[in-house]
């Protein structure tokens, strides 16, 4: 079985994310880049599937990203993935979801697949769109934000659980399909040192847009970011005080509702 796992290189959100001077994006200096945390659940699930099915099941990582993304890809290989395809092209900088989906569809479709795992969203843009658009382009069903996954004995379908507000949906999907993964699906393994060493020798197939047969960037320019805004200054804790405790609490509730908008 051919298992494909999508991977995105994203900034570590523990870092201070600041807007650059031109106001056109974020400052990348001082930021560490990591594998999108939700993609780790995908990698782990792919590896577990391979362990379960055995045979000639292979796990291939597919990543669209800049040249620096190889570090993230090697980490996935160190966890145990077999090989990778890395789509890297200067024209893809700042690509939107439809562009990414088209490119990935070409690359993955070209290599063939039986099941695709990915993270439920990327923690940089938080859009959660690429996976659905990709599934549509590949003409396969998708189940999003899986918290449980079980492949059927015959490998032709799978039972997938996903959390919704106040409950859990139990899905059944035919295969091939795309499954996006959520926290709680599994515990991603820590790459062992032999794994890290072996990863250095595993194959990463690098493709440019031209390699995939695109003469120009597909689906370009469907949207435009007009402004980047920082969060309102949250450095200081807003201490809510009043003569009477009850008044202070009332004020707090008002703030939570009107200012923070969390109630």
């Amino acid at each position: 079985m051919k298992v494909v796992v999508l991977l995105k290189r994203v900034p570590d959100t523990e870092a201070k994310i600041l807007i650059n001077q031109e106001g056109s994006g974020i400052r990348e200096d001082g930021i560490k880049f990591i594998i999108n945390p939700y993609d780790e659940y995908a990698i782990e699930e792919g590896l577990r599937l391979r362990e379960k099915l055995g045979g000639d099941t292979k796990v291939t990582v597919a990543c669209m990203g800049p040249a620096e993304a190889t570090e993230a890809i090697r980490t996935a290989l160190a966890m145990g993935a077999d090989d990778a395809v890395h789509i890297s092209d200067p024209g893809l900088a700042g690509a939107g979801p439809f562009t990414a989906a088209a490119v990935l569809a070409k690359a993955i479709g070209g290599e063939g697949f039986d099941i695709i795992f990915c993270g439920k969203q990327a923690i940089d843009d938080d859009q959660a769109q690429v996976q659905c658009i990709l599934a549509e382009m590949l003409d396969i069903p998708q189940v999003n934000a899986a918290s449980s996954f079980e492949i059927a004995g015959d490998g032709a379908s799978a039972a997938v659980g996903r959390r919704i507000e106040g409950g859990e949906e139990k899905w059944e999907t035919s295969l091939p399909a795309l499954i996006s993964c959520d926290k709680g699906l599994n515990e991603p393994r820590y790459a062992s040192l032999p794994g890290i060493m072996k990863a250095k020798k595993k194959e990463i197939r690098t493709k440019t847009l031209a390699d995939l047969g695109f003469s120009e960037v597909p689906n370009k320019g469907r949207s435009r970011i007009v402004k980047w805004l920082p969060l309102p200054k949250s450095g200081e804790c807003r201490m809510v005080e009043a003569g009477e405790t009850a008044d202070a609490v009332r004020e707090l509730v008002r703030l939570l509702r009107e200012e923070a908008k969390v109630i």
Binding site: D12, E14, R189, Y190
Partner: protein
């Protein structure tokens, strides 16, 4: 030569030969291990043997060791006499008298009697302690261990009684002067009239010598192999600082295995440790894990590992390609391995200088780096160190935020200065630790010290990763830190954390970085003594106690300085914990335990807090961020945080 003599000679030679074969096998078994250079500094090594073998210095550190001292020297002396007797049976006429004259022979005989009596007394006391008093240190769940102890004590007892019997018969026959053998004279009176004294003497002597021959063959296969292993183990002991771990080489990219999973992965010295243990259990009685009902006991660990080694060596010596049996889980469980705080109390107490901690860390290295098997709480810690260079997932670019507004000089700006203040992860990110860092900076400024901090260039020193067995991660951090440190010129690294101190003082030099490190207790005392810092004083109410951190006191010998500092600050002489100085009781956070849940037994930090509460003090001084956290948590857990304050020594000047 008589027939008896010939038979005895043949037996004697045969036993000696067999003993030789056994010793050869033992040495070959040590060669199964990896190499290690312990062949330096012969002078110090010989001196170690004089102090710790001849003078039994560590044994005598506890008064009950007097028993061992008596049995040890008594038995050596008496055994010399045994060999003299055997030779005299083979070569009639041979003996002390022929060699040294009557007077000396008489003195030897007298000493034999006196020592023999003392040894008997010591054995009786030992058996009493073992079976009536039942000290904690001897508690082990393997009945075989107890049986072996009884056997040897019993046999020695019998041997000495037989010696008195033999000498007693010799007194009856007139060969020995009763005045030179007062105790044997008593035996003589008892044995008078029991058949022919010559025959009786021969029979008793034969039984005695046969037991000795049995001993020679039995000892290497029981825990008494200690007799053979202890002296070399003391000779080859670790002469370097206590807190070092071996450095691993990650250059070989085809290596499949890292750390120790079976006996072949240890060095010959680590294997020799197993032959040196006599199961005295002093390590166990000092171990914080054992004392709080964790599955770990250093006594049990060495005992089980020796059993494992003995079981496995036969196969390994027979066939060089044989697959060695993995130690985990056959003889040691993962829970035992993770329960260790690396406090080193076991190594501090051990009379033959067994090094328990480095074995545990080697086993951890295998679990972590080769198998990726470790308590799940550690995975985020490793990841955080990899990505953000601290165990807590705080963004690395926020590392210097604690210093905002304090006008703290940065190394990147100053470039050259006297002291580099290494703030450390706790000082940078933990609210309580930040308080200490700020206090420290205020003191440094007051004293006019030319210092700087690395700010966001500082990364975790790597100590925790090393102790948890993730040597690869630790080395990555260490090498990265050294790259940064080399950019600037300064004379010393100052740290408020003993783990950091230990790492910089003892471990970074192995990676090629030699700038000396100093702990803030030493440094502040220097400043106070030099008049550069005048203690503000008067911030402590009531009596105060000082807790010695394991990595400060035991590992690095910094015991007097914090106390002097406390006294200089006007808090008077601190009240001492029962277990203090080099024998201090761990707070429970070392060895990575700070980041793991403690689900078995009772809490180590609460045990120490109980000890503190028993002292009736209002303040506890610490010199370590881990200890600080452990004490504060422990006090809160017991609801006593209002009555007792925990302060770092930097906070009281």
């Amino acid at each position: 030569m008589t027939v008896q003599g010939i038979v005895l000679l043949v037996l004697f030679v045969a036993v000696l030969a067999a003993f030789g074969v056994i010793v050869r096998m033992l040495i070959r078994s040590l060669r199964l291990g990896r190499p290690e250079d312990r062949f330096d500094r012969w002078g110090s090594r010989i001196w170690s043997v004089i102090v710790f073998v001849a003078a039994q210095a560590r044994v005598l550190a506890q008064w009950a060791g007097l028993g061992h001292f008596i049995i040890f020297w008594g038995f050596i002396f008496i055994t010399l006499g045994t060999f003299e007797h055997i030779l005299s049976m083979i070569v009639p006429g041979f003996g002390w008298e022929r060699l040294f004259g009557t007077a000396v022979a008489g003195a030897i005989s007298w000493l034999q009697d006196v020592l023999g009596l003392l040894v008997l007394g010591a054995i009786v006391v030992s058996l009493f302690r073992r079976f009536v008093l039942k000290p904690l240190r001897l508690r082990i769940d393997d009945p075989k261990a107890k049986q072996e102890a009884v056997l040897i004590l019993g046999l020695i007892f019998v041997l000495i009684v037989l010696m008195f019997g033999v000498k007693g018969t010799a007194i009856i026959t007139g060969e020995v002067d009763a005045r030179t053998a007062p105790v044997s004279a008593v035996a003589a009176r008892i044995l008078a009239g029991v058949g022919d004294p010559h025959l009786l003497g021969s029979v008793l002597a034969w039984i005695h010598h046969l037991i000795i021959f049995f001993f020679l063959i039995y000892i290497p296969f029981s825990k008494h192999i200690h007799i053979l292993g202890a002296i070399p183990n003391i000779f080859f002991r670790n002469l370097g600082p206590m807190g070092t771990l071996s450095r691993m080489d990650f250059e070989d990219e085809t290596a499949e295995k890292f750390g120790a999973s079976d006996m072949r992965d240890f060095t010959w010295k680590q294997l020799l440790d197993l032959y040196a243990c006599t199961e005295c259990g002093r390590c166990q009685a000092a171990c914080p894990a054992f004392l709080t009902d964790k599955p770990l006991s250093p006594f049990r660990l060495i005992h089980m590992m020796r059993g494992h080694f003995v079981a496995d060596r036969k196969k390994l010596l027979a066939d060089a390609a044989a697959v060695a049996t993995p130690i985990v889980p056959a003889s040691v469980s993962e829970e035992e391995i993770w329960a260790c705080t690396t406090c080193g109390a076991c190594m501090q107490e051990c009379p033959p200088f067994i090094e328990h901690v480095n074995k545990i860390v080697d086993l951890r290295r295998y679990l972590v780096m080769t198998q990726s098997r470790f308590p799940s709480e550690m995975q985020p810690v490793f990841r955080n160190m990899e990505i953000n260079y601290n165990p807590w997932s705080m963004g690395y670019s926020t590392r210097a935020d604690w210093a905002e507004g304090l006008d703290v000089p940065l190394a990147s700006e100053k470039k050259e200065f006297d002291v580099l203040y290494w703030v450390g992860c706790a000082g940078s990110f933990d609210a309580r630790g930040q308080g200490v860092a700020r206090a420290m900076v205020a003191l440094l400024k007051r004293a006019g010290v030319d210092f700087a901090i690395l700010g966001v260039e500082e990364m975790c020193c790597g100590e925790t990763a090393r102790r948890m067995g993730n040597e690869y991660l630790a080395q990555t951090l260490i090498e990265a830190n050294i790259e940064v440190l080399k950019k600037y010129r300064f004379n010393r690294i100052l740290t408020t954390c003993p783990h950091g101190l230990n790492t910089f003082r003892v471990e970074y030099p192995r990676f090629g970085y030699e700038t000396p490190a100093v702990h803030h207790s030493e440094f502040l005392l220097e400043l106070v003594r030099g008049g550069r810092l005048k203690p503000a004083g008067g911030s402590v109410s009531g009596r105060a106690a000082y807790h010695d951190s394991c990595y400060l006191g035991r590992y690095n010998g910094i015991i007097a300085q914090p106390r002097e500092l406390i006294a200089a600050a006007g808090a008077g002489e601190p009240v001492e914990f029962g277990r203090h100085g080099r024998h201090s009781f761990c707070c429970g956070a070392g060895g990575g335990r700070m980041w793991m849940e403690e689900t078995i037994g009772t809490r180590i930090n609460e045990a120490r807090v109980d000890e503190a509460l028993g002292l009736g003090v209002g303040t506890i001084f610490t010199a370590c961020p881990f200890c600080m956290t452990m004490f504060e948590d422990g006090l809160k857990a017991k609801g006593r945080e209002e009555q007792v304050t925990v302060k770092d020594i930097a906070e009281m000047l």
